[in-house]
């Protein structure tokens, strides 16, 4: 068989991410070698490309953190805001321009500590925003302090004898607060991640995708878990795909439950409600 030339067939091309990088930015990116943030970045690009969204109709909003650097590299509308406030800015953008697709890229510190309040209220409002939480179990950018998702017992620079605190279950939190699409995946499961992000963007309402990622530079090194590859292998082993029924499955305590964890297509979306109100008011006037 003669080698087939690069075809423009339905199959997704390997260089799709290159078409979405900002031309004037210096590459490679600033992330450490092997950092999961880059894996999520190309997955997000593949999802957007598959959905055929125009670059100018997608707004990436982020706060501060290693993960929050992502919109800087991608050639979409970008809003790189203050620490923890990405969802507050994103709510404003979506409310003013409901025709745009708004995607928030956030880290576990950004989303769950300083930005925790914005998260629960965005979930409660069920506003049509896609939130991608890159959970690397630690504050990467500032040097490895504990975050609300650092597992109990884990070492960080602020917990040299092990973390005494309990963690947030981010997906449970989002569900309790009212998010209508919740999924979890890992940087090892790239094809699942592509699917989850695609579905989340398509979903009308607040969608929350937690991507478990590797910060081997801090979390991995301080806990002697090895380099990027070792952490990816850990996700591969621990993920119980489709096996567990609930978010925290009693039998799978040390397992990672991935896939779509919750979905509600009945709940009304905030921008739709607002439009309805505007329509009824303008009818009353006429």
């Amino acid at each position: 068989m003669t080698p087939a030339v690069k075809s423009s067939a339905a199959v997704q091309q390997s260089d799709v991410v290159l078409r979405y990088l900002r031309p004037h930015k210096k590459f490679p990116n600033l992330w450490c070698p092997g950092c999961g943030n880059g894996i999520v970045m190309s997955s997000l690009v593949r999802a957007i490309d598959k959905l055929g969204l125009a670059k100018d109709n997608v707004v990436l909003v982020s706060g501060i953190g290693c993960s929050s650097r992502m919109p800087v590299y991608l050639d979409f509308q970008a809003l790189h805001t203050t620490h923890g406030r990405a969802l507050a800015f994103a709510t404003g953008v979506k409310f003013a321009r409901p025709d745009l697709k708004v995607v928030v890229i956030t880290g576990d510190g950004d989303c769950l500590s300083i930005g925790g309040n914005h998260l629960i209220h965005a979930c409660r409002r069920n506003i049509d925003i896609t939130t991608i939480l890159i959970n690397n179990y630690i504050y990467g950018m500032t040097g490895g302090q504990i975050s609300p998702t650092t597992p109990s017992g884990s070492v960080s620079t602020t917990t040299p004898y092990g973390n005494m605190e309990k963690q947030f279950e981010a997906c449970e939190l989002a569900k309790g607060a009212g998010a209508t699409f919740i999924a979890r995946t890992t940087v090892y499961h790239t094809s699942q991640m592509d699917r989850m992000i695609t579905e989340a963007i398509q979903h009308r309402g607040f969608s929350f995708v937690e991507v478990l990622s590797n910060c081997h530079t801090y979390y991995g090194r301080l806990n002697r878990l090895g380099q990027a590859t070792a952490l990816l292998r850990m996700f591969q082993e621990k993920a119980a795909r489709g096996k567990a029924k609930s978010i925290i499955d009693e039998e799978s305590k040390d397992m990672i439950v991935t896939g779509v964890l919750h979905r509600d297509d009945e709940k009304t979306e905030l921008c739709d409600e607002y439009q309805k109100l505007l329509d009824s008011l303008s009818k009353g006037k006429a």
Partner: protein, 87 residues
Amino acid sequence: MSSLQTTIEAPVTPVRRSKVDYSQGPQPVSINPTWCKKCNICVALCPQNVLDTDRSGKPVVAHAEECIQCGICWTHCPDAAITSNYR
């Protein structure tokens, strides 16, 4: 040391047969040498053992004939440094 780790992590024998005859055309995948940060994720995850590291730690195509174009290397590269010449 890193090449030893790779040998342990990757399967010893390739699991699937490649359908493309790469001897007639370009390499199955190309690695951008200025963007690659030598994290070795691609080398470790390739199910067919196509990639290996050179002395400097950079990935190189060592067994082109085994490549099945599965996409595991380019979807896992955090730096968009690998692209296929066939997909």
